[in-house]
């Protein structure tokens, strides 16, 4: 054990880093971090000896030595190109909350704060909340985040508030070699409704994002959360979203995994009685990109509904992973669950590993799942050619159409437009 981890650059650097992390004087947080460090210290970054990491080996990350960076200069035009005009905006630079770049004027019924700031000024507000939706035992990247997170944002929507504009969390990395370990805590009060969009981008090439979102949805609350992952080509990305859904709550997630060299998403939700959960996802990978999506829906009480639809497009030597777990507990009768994963392979060297898993512990349920892996249909390519479209464009049109089905599910028109442009940039077809 020690031999394997003796060269883990992160463990070696931790003692020097620890004093600069926020909340050093808070015993409850110290306990959380110490436990996390202990878990992470046992085996380091997950490797494919673990079932949940069978297709994605991160053990090489241990040798990289990315380190926390401060907020630095950010090119305004570049940053603004990712901002949504019609949204409040929280900007995190290298993982640190940048209040001067954020746009939060006019917020009503919702409290938005930097996490480090709250841990200094009003730590009681977070005690007992951090770590409620996920614990270090989940896996070692969660443990890593627990021990290393330096900042992030807390968003608290008061009960019965319905936000009239979405909130964007714009996560940018500008320093080469930066480790951006962020923790966001999102609380949606009873009967409240909100839309949140996370955008991950980098203006430098090589860095490591390790982000964890905890989302707590109150009774009959609604949250639409969209993740737009556009990390730089060589970036390492881990983003986990862990949700606790109270009775009658509704969680809609869109996961667009388009960037990064090695990227892993966890989307996990635990559903109380009659809660609804929809997970949509699109992963598009080319070159030697590796994009892994892990979802887990736990129906804990009766009458829950879950819908899951993921699509993958893999080109060149890219590798995609979809693992979808649905767990229906013994007393979650009348659960209604559907899962679907469709994948398009554009090259002979591309690969996708897809693994739907249903674990059902009672008889009174309606559950289905389906998976396909295929290529573009040649008869469709020929049909477009026979109308004057050249072969390369025909293939792009068909690939774009396959992928765009997921962007089309996004209701927010501005966000949909941005996603459309990202897809068109990857599959240039004629202008629409």
């Amino acid at each position: 054990m020690m031999n394997e981890l003796s060269n883990n650059a992160y463990l070696a650097a931790y003692p020097a880093l620890a004093d600069s992390l926020p909340g050093r004087d808070l015993p409850w947080l110290q306990q959380l971090r110490n436990e996390a460090l202990q878990v992470f210290g046992q085996t380091g970054f997950p490797g494919n000896r673990e079932e949940e990491w069978r297709y994605t080996n991160l053990s090489a990350l241990g040798k990289t030595g990315f380190a926390p960076a401060a907020v630095g200069a950010v090119d305004a035009d570049w940053l603004n190109s990712y901002r949504l005009d019609n949204a409040f905006c929280v900007v995190l630079v290298n993982g640190c909350f940048a209040s001067d770049l954020s746009r939060l004027e006019g917020l009503e019924g919702v409290t938005v704060n930097g996490l480090a700031e709250i841990l200094t000024q009003n730590p009681a507000a977070l005690e007992g909340k951090l770590g409620q939706a996920v614990a270090s035992g989940e896996h070692n990247l969660v443990a890593f985040n627990n021990a290393w997170f330096g900042d992030g944002v807390t968003i608290e929507v008061a009960a019965k508030q319905v936000l009239d504009k979405p909130i964007q969390i714009l996560h940018v990395v500008t320093e080469a070699g930066a480790l951006a370990a962020t923790r966001n805590l999102i609380t949606i009060g009873d009967q409240a409704e909100a839309e949140i969009i996370e955008t991950y981008v980098g203006s430098t090439d090589s860095y490591f994002t390790a982000a964890v979102n905890e989302c707590l949805l109150g009774r009959n609350a609604g949250l639409t959360l969209t993740k737009v992952q556009l990390e730089a080509d060589k970036a390492q990305h881990f983003g986990g979203t862990y949700v606790k859904q109270a009775q009658d709550s509704r969680f809609l997630h869109h996961n667009f995994a388009l960037g990064g060299g090695l990227a892993r998403s966890d989307i996990h939700s635990d559903l109380d009685k009659a809660a609804e959960c929809s997970l949509n996802g699109l992963f598009v990978a080319g070159k030697r990109q590796h994009i892994d999506n892990h979802t887990r829906i736990k129906h804990l009480k009766p009458h829950g509904v879950s819908r899951e639809f993921y699509k993958g497009v893999l080109d060149n030597r890219a590798r995609g992973v979809f693992q979808g777990r649905v767990i229906v507990a013994e007393n979650a009768q009348r659960t209604d669950s559907e899962m679907n994963n469709r994948n398009l392979l554009l090259s002979a060297d591309a690969e996708v590993d897809t693994k739907p898993q249903l674990e059902i512990y009672n008889d009174d349920v309606k559950c289905s799942h389906g998976v396909t892996v295929g290529q573009l249909e040649e008869k469709s390519v020929f049909y477009l050619q026979s109308r004057g479209v050249d072969e390369a464009t025909a293939r792009n049109i068909l690939t774009f159409a396959f992928a765009n089905e997921m962007a089309d599910k996004v209701e927010n028109a501005e966000l949909k437009g941005l996603l459309l442009n990202e897809l068109l940039a990857r599959f240039p077809a004629m202008s629409l």
Binding site: F382, S386, R387, G388, V389, E391, I397, L432
Partner: protein
Amino acid sequence: MLSIKNLHVSINDKPILKGLTLDINPGEVHAIMGPNGAGKSTLSHVLSGKAGYTVTEGSVTYNGKDLLELAPEIRAREGVFLAFQYPVEIPGVSNIYLLKAALNAMRKHHGLPEVDAMDFLTIVKSKVKLLQMDEKFLYRAVNEGFSGGEKKRNEILQAAVLEPKLCILDETDSGLDIDALRIVAEGVNSLRSAERSFLMITHYQRLLDYIKPDVVHVLADGKIVKSGGPDLALELEEKGYSWLEGRAA
């Protein structure tokens, strides 16, 4: 405009067309009839450039060019249009997008600027009316969930927008009820002109009641075995094909 000489075509080394010769002049409507397996669809596929067919002998000249040398999309841009026997469903691509992409590809090929968005809509809507289609069809995915008749009408709509020089209709009557057949035929008839030629491939005579051909050919065992005027179609309807099989034109 189209001159097919002694065309031999094989699929996986199996000869399908065995010396087909056919000349079509501008403005003419030719019908090719024949029993199943005679090679009718192979002919339409070879002319439009579908992969999987090997031309072992003969030539196809289209407006002075060697048609067989051209990529499928170039043939289309040069004015060859195939109305498919089984139009392909393309989820996620709207009819109007395909029409615009196709029209602009064609215009670019001929050195013309992209069509103005308003003009385009005007053109397309007039053609939609011509084919008695609902404008909603324009915004639906290409052929997805269309009935048989709607798919065939959609093929003719595309031809109406793209204004080809040579229009190949592959079993356009199959799967159509009598009302749909009439509408499709009216659409085709409205496209007839002194410059535009048609090659209609059909198993049954009934399409020819609505679209009057100038010349009728009988294709059997990979060759044209008899050619004649419109009356030949009626004779075939009466006698079937067996009396012609094995006979040279």
